[in-house]
């Protein structure tokens, strides 16, 4: 029900069924309305109810955009259900609109027959003007194809918090909690965890906590009363059956941070993290800055370049150096990454990709840094690249990045994106003991003998993996010099000679190409056949569900999702050649497609989307469907592409104002 899958019957006009398989809710309001917070708490209560879920926070680049404007709208979408959930959902079933701008920006995405919950108190003349509405849409009949539940949430909130002596302005800050209370009632969720959370959040201001709790309870009570009439009713979604164990929700940024901590522990190394504020990567710096007891040192550098250079300096001195950024920052780090490749020191670089080029779309998601990751350096500078496919997958991928960096003495780039970084999903908490340690070893003795049998130290003598020894400064007897100039293949001394440069280039290339990468598996479907849909990164969710839906219709399609972007799994070429067609959906203009074609001479077809928004399942199903026209049950393709969710012009800047906020993380203040 959550998706526009062709076999879904769609919502009946009288609202949600009593026990839907899944539901998509979008909370939308002004940047200052606390929508991300509302969404986050609703996510938690959904997780506690045992539903599977996926979320998509979508917020403006401005920290506090002018109130009530179209470009100041902040939204949080959650898809939850009793079936496995792979994406945040194509089209919402329920839209909560806290003001006219929120309604206008998000209405097009709403499923026909969907439910709109609107705060009439915010639909003032002034706010309607700001949202460029000539007439009040709640009153002019233009919302005819939807269910509309409009009432004065602002007034009801003020009423509910009256006993706590707050002024109107402060009282209205609890509007989001009133709304959350209503949503909790609607989906039959307990309020206790939110009560506890509010009490702990406002520990020092108990009157604020009490006011918010009162607002939450009032919203909940309103649901119970209003059920008697109108479209509002309580629905129940069964818990999804899942493996027993301890669960929590996790965002990609959290999972990367935890994975890096775990990776450093498995390598038995202190971690040094050099960072510089940039959206959407800063969250990793923030998380790690609070984990110092795990032998983590965080360093907020003067710029992106210093952040990576300090990380390399720390690796040189024997820590696991890590740096993180987004595309523009990665561009600045490029020269230093080349030095890391040349001096063969471990380094993990996390790229939380965002819309580009240049400053691009700081808070929107894209996968357009793949060329940058694989090819984007001067000289022949091979570097392993791996990509996380979901928030929880980012944990394992971060550990894998640490392993490759330490075992092969090389910089490694880990690709995530704005969607993975911010989105949350349930995560079965792993047991750290289930991961195989890969302790780093430091050379402390000379590693070769000269002709007279005297011990000598060769800083570039390689092991069976092609890795050179790691020697910490401070080690007696092994003093040596390294640098970015081409060096002799054993002594590491400056050596410009033609043969040596050829050998060193080959050795660096061979080392990276020889990295042990697990064979590629097919994650859904057969290992050969008519169509393989090949993805990487955060497209996992929509591809997986689209392929699943297509297979349920009997279509011969498989989903292959690649984690190891460079070097690629050895069997990948053969696997792809086993399919008649290879379709590569990407949130860029076809970058991975190009790499696949180049590496395997395979006729990969791109399916591209560069709108700053994740793929919708329906879009992918339609693309898959085109390969099966003429197949019974699939005549002419059945699914219309839902363009509605693409950002439309009105969602951008309606006043031509500049929006150059590359660095700060958008944030909202709750209640």
């Amino acid at each position: 029900m959550a998706t526009a899958a062709p076999n879904d019957p769609g919502l009946p006009q009288d609202g949600l069924p009593d026990t839907p398989e899944s539901v998509v809710v979008r909370f939308a309001g002004d940047s200052g309305d606390g929508m991300q917070l509302t969404g986050g708490q609703f996510t938690l209560s959904t997780a506690l109810a045992g539903n599977d879920l996926a979320t998509f926070p979508d917020f403006p680049a401005e920290i506090r955009a002018p109130q009530g404007t179209l470009f100041g709208v902040s939204a949080f979408q959650i898809n939850f259900g009793s079936r496995e959930i792979n994406t945040a959902g194509d089209a919402p079933d329920v839209l909560v609109a806290m003001n006219p701008a929120a309604l206008k920006v998000n209405l097009a995405a709403l499923k026909p027959g969907g439910l709109i919950i609107a705060d009439t108190g915010a639909f003032t003349k002034r706010n309607l003007e700001k949202a460029k509405y000539a007439a009040n849409p709640l009153e002019d009949g233009s919302l005819g194809k939807f269910d509309v539940l409009a009432f004065d949430i602002s007034e009801k909130t003020i009423e509910a918090v009256k006993p706590y002596g707050l002024g109107n302005k402060d009282a209205l800050r609890s509007k989001n909690m009133w709304t959350l209370g209503l949503a909790l009632w609607m989906f039959d969720r307990p309020r206790d965890p939110i009560h506890d959370w509010l009490k702990s959040k406002f520990k020092s201001k108990p009157e604020i906590a009490d006011a918010n709790i009162a607002a939450l309870d009032a919203g909940h009570a309103y649901g119970e009363t209003a059920e008697l009439a109108g479209p509002l009713k309580q629905v129940h979604i069964d818990p999804v059956p899942s493996e027993p164990g301890l669960y929590r929700t996790v965002t990609g940024a959290e999972a990367v941070s935890l994975g890096l901590v775990a990776g450093a522990q498995l390598a038995e190394l202190p971690m040094f993290f050099g960072g510089y504020p940039i959206t959407p990567a800063s969250a990793i710096l923030h998380h790690l800055a609070r984990l110092k007891e795990y032998d983590v040192t965080t360093f907020q550098a003067e710029d992106e370049i210093a952040a990576v250079c300090a990380a390399i300096g720390a690796s040189y001195a024997g820590s696991l150096g890590v740096t993180s950024s987004s595309g523009p920052g990665i561009a600045l780090k490029t020269e230093a990454i080349g030095l890391g490749i040349m001096t063969e020191l471990p380094l993990v670089i996390v790229n939380s990709q965002r819309g580009g080029p240049s400053t691009g779309l700081p808070t929107k998601t894209e996968q357009s840094d793949l060329y940058q990751a694989v090819y984007g350096r001067n000289g022949d500078a091979p570097m392993p690249v791996i990509a996380a496919s979901s928030p929880s997958d980012a944990f394992d991928v971060a550990i894998e990045a640490c392993r490759i960096a330490v075992q092969y003495m090389t910089p490694v780039m880990l690709l995530t994106d704005g969607y993975i970084a911010n989105a949350a999903e349930p995560w079965k908490v792993p047991d750290p003991a289930s991961y195989t340690p890969f302790p780093a070893s430091f050379l402390t003795e000379k590693n070769a003998q000269d002709d007279d049998g005297e011990g000598v130290f060769l800083p570039y003598k390689r092991d069976d993996k092609g890795a050179r020894p790691w020697v910490k400064p401070g080690t007696p007897g092994l003093m040596h010099r390294i640098g970015g100039i081409e060096k002799h293949e054993l002594t590491g001394n400056i050596d410009y000679s033609p043969d040596n440069h050829q050998r060193m280039t080959d050795l660096r290339k061979g080392k990276v190409e020889g990295i042990a990468v697990p064979d590629q598996e097919v994650c859904l479907g057969n290992t050969s056949g008519k169509l393989a849909v090949v993805g990487w990164g955060s497209t996992y969710g929509p591809i997986h569900r689209a392929v699943d839906n297509a297979r349920r219709k009997g279509l011969d399609v498989s989903h292959i999702h690649v984690r190891h972007i460079w070097p690629m799994p050895a069997n990948l070429g053969e696997l792809l050649h086993g399919f008649e067609h290879v379709l590569v959906p990407e949130m860029n203009t076809g970058q991975f497609k190009t790499v696949l074609r180049d590496q395997f001479l395979v006729d990969a077809t791109p399916l591209t989307k560069i709108s700053g928004q994740p793929f919708q399942i329906a879009e992918l199903e339609e693309a898959i469907g085109k390969y099966f026209d003429g197949v019974e049950g699939n005549e002419g393709g059945q699914v219309l592409v839902n363009d509605d969710q693409l950002p439309h012009l009105e969602a951008g800047h309606d006043d031509g104002s500049l929006n150059d906020t590359a660095s700060p993380q958008s944030q909202e203040h709750g209640s």
């Binding site: 506690l48 109810a49 045992g50 965890p193 818990p239 059956p241 027993p244 301890l246 669960y247 929590r248 935890l258 901590v261 775990a262 522990q265 040094f272 050099g274 110092k292 007891e293 795990y294 032998d295 040192t297 360093f299 003067e302 710029d303 370049i305 210093a306 952040a307 250079c309 300090a310 990380a311 390399i312 300096g313 720390a314 690796s315 040189y316 001195a317 024997g318 820590s319 150096g321 230093a336 030095l339 001096t343 908490v429 047991d431 750290p432 003991a433 910490k472 400064p473 401070g474 007696p476 092994l478 003093m479 040596h480 010099r481 390294i482 640098g483 970015g484 100039i485 001394n493 400056i494």
Partner: protein, 344 residues
């Protein structure tokens, strides 16, 4: 941080087997020798000493010192050194940079390593030219410098390294020149200083900017133009016939004649290395009307960056257990049957 153990070495112990590749007659040779002569006097341990450099003629320095060495990328040496020092505060780090490396492409990093006060010695070889790229004007080149990139003469105002360093918040500013016999003394003072110690070393580029410092740094005959500063001593120069006085009306320095050695009567001031105001005047003192201020211009330590980082890490870790399994399961969790757990 552990107290460094003094090691007995000789100059020879600090020489590598690498052929030194600077131009014959380059001032860098003299600086290299001065450093190699100073290190044994410091009791420095080659295994614990790290030379970190950027790019340029000066930055080849690490290859010629038998210690650990990292020849990094243009302008960024301070950042590498900061990371290394945070990872291992016991390392004794010498940073080698030049006027182009440190003040042009790397000006930002130099500023931040100084204001953070990361404990290391920073030697900036100032030859007022880009040597390795064949002689373009540098940020310290004097106005009117003719070079391949400024054939009619440069017209940008030169940066003043020592003034830059002090302005950035440096707690130690020293000056010397390549062939000076006093250079090891400045290096020793810099090494003794706990924190970022900045040393501007005038260096003769005999190919592209020959003898531009001869007015005060010529091997012979320029001594009268050198004001060697010593803590607690009057600021005298030109065989003690002249001195530096403070004009209290204009709050500026002036040159005064000293008659019969009576510097006090002439109003000559006594050098106090911790006086930041006077230090600002010394680094701004224009050469020509004034002598060149050399030696230790300013030395007033304050807590170092790495000490603060270590202290914060210790305080933040105090009483906390580094239990990864607990960390992963932190926050509000649930089991599959939907039972909420208390936050860990």
């Amino acid at each position: 941080m552990n107290a460094p153990v003094k090691i007995e070495t000789t100059l020879k112990d600090w020489e590598t087997d690498q052929e030194v590749r600077w131009c014959p007659g380059c001032g860098d040779y003299a600086i290299l020798k001065a450093v190699q002569r100073t290190l044994p006097q410091l009791g420095a341990d080659p295994a614990n000493t790290v030379f970190i450099s950027g790019i340029g003629c000066s930055s080849r320095f690490p290859y010629y010192v038998e210690s650990y060495g990292f020849h990094t990328i243009h302008g960024r040496a301070p950042a590498f050194a900061t990371g290394a020092k945070l990872a291992n505060p016991d390392l004794d780090i010498w940073l080698v940079t030049g006027d182009g490396d440190g003040l042009s492409i790397g000006g930002n990093h130099l500023m931040h390593v100084l204001r953070r006060n990361v404990n290391m010695q920073i030697m900036l070889f100032n030859n007022e030219i880009y040597g390795l790229t064949k002689g373009q004007a540098s940020p310290t080149s004097r106005e009117g410098t003719k070079s391949p990139s400024t054939p009619i003469g440069s017209y940008d105002h030169p940066a003043r390294p020592a003034a830059f360093a002090l302005g950035a918040g440096a707690r130690f500013v020293g000056r010397g020149f390549d062939v000076s016999k006093h250079l090891p003394d400045v290096l020793k003072a810099a090494h003794a200083h706990q924190g970022a110690a900045f040393i501007e070393i005038f260096q003769n580029c005999i190919v592209y900017n020959k003898d531009v410092f001869n007015d005060f740094a010529a091997p012979k005959g320029a001594e009268d133009q050198q004001l060697w500063l010593e803590n607690g001593k009057p600021m005298l120069f030109a065989k003690e016939s002249k001195g530096i006085a403070l004009n209290r009306d204009t709050l500026s320095l002036e040159v005064v004649d000293v008659v019969d050695g009576d510097w006090e009567a002439a109003g000559v001031i006594v050098h106090d290395v911790t006086n930041r105001s006077i230090a600002h005047m010394l680094v701004e003192m224009p050469f020509g009307p004034f002598p060149m201020a050399l030696g230790v211009l300013y030395d007033d330590p304050k807590p170092t960056f790495e000490a603060a980082a270590l202290a914060e890490k210790a305080a933040a870790s105090e009483g906390k257990e580094a239990n990864l399994a607990k960390l992963l399961g932190k926050g509000q969790t649930w089991t599959v049957d939907g039972t909420a757990q208390d936050p860990v």
